[in-house]
Symmetry: C2
């Protein structure tokens, strides 16, 4: 496996960054307000386990550490240099590092690509130095890097260095926004989750977002790789990593921002105009099994849930509450995120009823009433005893928990034993009140693998994401390795450069990849048109054929349901006249005479080029469904058979393919087949094809036909 | 105005409850664990301004207050009795209260309607006592009532009595869930919002949810009436109150739970099966201008925003941030809730650029960078100076705020002055970190009417709701008082009891209300059918007509596009045969011969009976749009012209009515007309009509025709 090789290289290269034996701090300062001082103190206060070498032009000692005038003077092999210097000194320092054999560096300075042209040039110079000396850097324009398992506080930010550490540290976090990353780090720590790695990648002159994800995936002490992303520069790598992550069951959780800023883009094809950048990201995350965090809270909650080492077996959820109102609200929340609040069987209900007071309710959500919250906390045990044996229950949510139970409370010990011996996924949460929402027994629960997540972290949404993740994980295991062989011929000669191909040119390309298109032939005269019509059989359709007229209805260039020779002649003349009137300079190839297709379900398949991801394949229902409801889905090419199935099933109007109003289901296999063929086509000619629009494709109970197509070349 | 009379009565009646001069506490106890003791202490600790009379069989004094053996012995007029007694003593105590002329009471005891049949009977006895003695009660099975402006702590709940009060108290809160209400009360107090009234209405034996809303609307010191609702028992009253609330600009904000628990209901008509209870509530809230809170956080945030006494003029929003990442995320959030992050004009951008560092960004979201957060807080002032004069900006959100500014900081004073003299809606918020998200200057901001809401209270969502509210308020002012006169005839004789009427019977009723239906006549023989067809003109449609066959396609009882006499004869025979074969016992009126309607846009209008609201009117697009996409909207009858317009515009597929794919827009006035006529019809005969289903109605560029209809009577 190719990734395995990459792994060795990558981890060897980044290991000195995360596990340095010796660090040099360039730009150390005696001024307690300067970042050079703050950085040094951060390492000392953090209890960094290796050697620390402050670099200072003149000082002998700072904070009891011997200073060196240059990194070249340091007696040890320096693994990591931290550059606390302004932009004007960065290059000089970095060269010195290179000359001293330093392996990695963090560059805090700003003034690079974020300020525009001049900065981009300066940043390229940094990159060149890195390449020359084989030095790997984080930054520039970043907040730095933390490894909280060895005291490596590679940052000057007081927001990071003053946060108490929690015991468990097995989720890594990489961020493209320094400030937002710091906020997330603190918020997570306040919820009991200290990231083992925190990496602010800044401008990514060298090490990028997915490089860090890769490191975390390969790191044996990391269970989850999470991140805050504004734009991925190496989607191909991230895609491979995501596949690998699913294989080894290490979730990648990413909060991707900029949903709204995609804006509209000019695009000649229908598909292009529908592909907002965020929709493409969404499709990418779905097809790769990357968990998409809607907010920073999801990163925290999902990590805590996943670290319990259990996964929900399904979506059937029971809520146990001490407030009827709260129970209803949590039930609403569960269902809004796709969890199922199932009715309990009579048997289970009766078992519970026997053990709780008559005014409590044994229906789901199970309401133990305020009595449980205040005077009778032992009631919280009772439903659990029955539910752990209920085959219909997958998830149990305690929306409140006794505040007074601690590790010495026998009921809490019994609660934990019941949970541990059960295959149910059990979550404890509380209503978020300041200073009043952390039951005493939390740490005991967490030590035994029962996750506790406060209500303001939206644990229910993350729970639903965990179920989604589990499904993606299961699917990945089943996924067929190879799509079936596709018959195809070489079409290079058809792909003239930078053209909008005519309908018949486009159709020819589809044919070459085994996609059935409507029967048609170009007529150059009315007589020829009649002859073609008679060979196809009436009724026929006549369409103007010209690469200069992509939107034929606009020039009145189509005649449907043409019934006989006389009508063909008339239609030919009219269409030709309309075209020359509307587009006097158009290069007209003739009039395409086509079979009139029977009614079926119209769908649309398209390819557009995404700035980030390259070719992206769209599928949707045709006609008004695409125009009015924008009911389409995207996946990044190439797609698998499972991607094709997911694309269809994720449509709001999927039912239309399954048959409604007494109609038979359409040939979904035929749709999958075309999707995979289009995927193959765009993969083979991604250098030459810019956009494809097959609209409409008509699907029948058996078979599928492309009725129109438009291909734009690069 | 009728409501004015009701007001006087209602406020006179409930005033003793909220503003009692003398309170008797029945069931007072010396045992410090009993609610009779807790209640007494709550009044004393709360500093209640009036007289307090503990009622105790034997004690002379409790907590230094003279006790009385019975409420009858109290020397003053008791306005409010608080019954801290078990269910077995409630009736006796209440009668004593009644005999002593006590005006209002709170009943905490449980064991009433919430436990089923026996409890319902006991509760009715309470209600009878109330009626007999003209006493108004809150409860039973409730947590009690608070008036935080006069120290009336009518509750034993430590969750309520131990919460510090905030200065501003002008939002009232009524709840159908005691425990969830208490949590909301505490959460609000922690965010600086103390409700002036807190009312747990319990089982609502007498005073109900909307009675309390009414009291709050009439109370001059209440600015907002909010509540937590599980099910409204008097929607007609709530609707009137909502209308009144819009007139006086006092928002009603309600969190309605149970979105998911509506479940499916058996219903004969299409409309019935689509009307989930929650969708009907949603329609009700939209048409009445009631602000729907999605969570308790919305109640808190909305109230804080509204209490600023400003309303946003529109949706154009600028974000000012010190973290680029946070700015992008808040922009995403704004757009997801329907606020518009507009590009700033060059002029405004240049003004801002002049005053901020070069590495900061003057584009929206405006990023002042970490420099503003840490070393240069005065930067927060600069964009504000330009934005307050920008005519294109309606809202300014500061997603962070200097932590160090306090009331003595000149910059904060300048900030406040700028805000106060501007018509922009300005919101200050922060990222929610424990102990780190409350800038020092908050109280100074709030004193000057600039709302501060922490990030975990989702202020952006509430801001969007405030814009919605403003629009509802503006629309209400414009609303025409009366719909146009509708021609109608008496149809009482047509409404046979408890029937599914045949298509032609249903059509006749629609005609009587001036709704144009397809031309048709019942034929009892093939000859008659041919004669009718010839008078209508070919092509025609033939349909079986029988009240026992509501779904005609299922028995193969429809023939479309019948072209001539021969085909009519054949169709008549086939349809008749199919009907008798499939439904041998059906009462067949004949075969309806109808004009074949031209193609238009199919819509559906229906009426169903909602358990809570009574007749509810549905509108949607027909065919697959209703079947697959469930693209429908509901409003409670009767509806106004504006309701009808909103119904149309709220459809996902509204564009189909405006004309797509070169089609002309359809006659929306005709749709409004039918909606108002159906509303009139169901209002006139709500005693007799259960459901109406007009499906499809065909709308044309001009005009509308009901092609099929089904009416079910009660």
């Amino acid at each position: 496996m190719k990734l395995l090789n990459e792994k060795v290289v990558s981890n060897l290269e980044l290991d000195p960054l995360f596990h340095p034996r010796a660090i040099a701090v360039l730009g150390t300062s005696e001024n307690t307000n300067k970042i050079g001082y703050l950085q040094l103190m951060a390492l000392l206060d953090g209890g960094f386990e290796g050697e620390i070498y402050p670099i200072h032009r003149s000082a002998k000692k700072i904070a009891d550490l011997t200073c060196y005038a240059s990194v070249k003077d340091v007696p040890s092999q320096v693994d990591l240099a931290i550059l606390c210097v302004g932009i004007e000194q960065v290059e000089k320092c970095l060269i010195e590092c290179g000359e001293s054999g330093v392996k990695t560096a963090i560059v805090f300075a700003s003034g690079y690509s974020e300020i525009g042209e001049a900065g981009i040039v300066a940043q390229q110079r940094l990159k060149d130095i890195c390449d020359q000396y084989q030095i790997r850097i984080i930054g520039p324009n970043c907040v730095g890097l933390l490894n909280t398992t060895n005291g490596l506080m590679g940052t000057f930010s007081p927001g990071l260095t003053h946060v108490p550490l929690n015991k468990k540290r097995e989720a890594g976090f990489v961020t493209q926004s320094g400030a937002f990353g710091v906020l997330t780090y603190i918020a997570a720590a306040q919820q009991g989750l200290t990231f083992n790695y925190f990496v602010s990648v800044g401008n990514e002159a060298d090490i990028g977002f997915s490089d860090v994800i890769e490191y975390m995936l390969h790191d044996p002490n990391t269970t989850i790789a999470s991140g805050y992303l504004e734009g991925e520069k190496n989607p191909e790598k991230l895609r491979k990593l995501a596949k690998y992550a699913l294989e080894i069951n290490k979730p990648i959780v990413i909060m991707k921002s900029g949903r709204s800023t995609a804006g509209s883009r000019a695009a000649a094809s229908h598909t292009g105009s529908l592909a907002g950048a965020d929709q493409v990201y969404d499709g990418f995350f779905k097809q790769t099994g990357i968990v998409r965090a809607d907010d920073y809270t999801d990163i925290i909650s999902f990590s805590k849930l996943f670290m319990s080492n259990k996964m929900p077996k399904g979506r059937n959820t029971v809520i146990v509450t001490s407030s009827g109102g709260r129970g209803i609200n949590e039930a609403d929340r569960c269902e809004s995120y796709g969890l199922n609040i199932h009715p309990l069987s009579d048997n289970v209900k009766q078992q519970i009823e026997k053990t709780i007071p008559s005014f409590a309710s044994a229906s789901n959500p199970i309401d133990l009433t305020a009595a449980a919250a205040i005077t009778h906390p032992q009631l919280f045990l009772e439903p659990l005893k029955a539910l752990v044996h209920d085959p219909e229950t997958d998830i149990i949510i305690f929306s409140e928990f006794p505040m007074s139970w601690d590790e010495n409370t026998p009921e809490l010990q019994e609660f934990v034993e019941l949970c541990k011996n059960s295959d149910k996924f059990i979550l404890v949460t509380t209503f978020p009140l300041e200073g009043m929402s952390s039951p005493k027994g939390i740490s005991y629960l967490e030590e035994h693998g029962i996750p506790f997540v406060k209500g303001d972290m939206n644990p229910v949404r993350s729970l639903a994401k965990l179920v989604d993740y589990r499904e993606a994980y299961d699917k990945a295991k089943k996924e067929q390795a190879k799509p079936k062989e596709i018959y195809k011929s070489n079409i290079r000669h058809l792909l003239l450069e930078n053209q909008t191909l005519s309908e018949s040119q486009s159709m020819e390309i589809l044919n070459a990849y085994g996609i059935r298109t409507v029967r048609r032939k170009i007529a150059r005269s009315a007589e020829e048109a009649v002859a073609i019509a008679e060979s196809i059989g009436y009724p026929v359709v006549l369409k103007i054929d010209s690469p200069d007229i992509p939107h034929k209805t606009e020039v009145n260039g189509i005649r449907l349901n043409v019934q006989n020779a006389q009508q063909v002649t008339l239609a030919f003349d009219e269409i030709s006249k309309n075209a020359t009137t509307h587009c006097p300079t158009a290069d007209i190839h003739g009039v395409s005479v086509q079979e009139m297709l029977a009614e079926g379900v119209e769908v649309i398949i398209g390819v557009t080029n995404d700035e980030t991801f390259g070719p992206v394949i769209m599928f949707g229902l045709g006609g008004v469904f695409v125009e009015v409801f924008k009911d389409v889905s995207f996946r990044v090419a190439p797609i698998t058979r499972q991607d094709a199935i997911d694309k269809m099933e994720s449509l709001a109007g999927y039912q239309l393919l399954q048959g409604v109003r007494n109609k038979k289901p359409v040939d979904q296999e035929a749709i999958i087949d075309v999707l995979l063929k289009v995927s193959e086509l765009i993969q083979d000619y991604s250098d030459a094809i810019k956009e494809i629009d097959i609209n409409p494709l008509i699907v029948y109970e058996n078979g599928i036909v492309a009725a129109d197509a438009l291909i734009i070349t690069k």
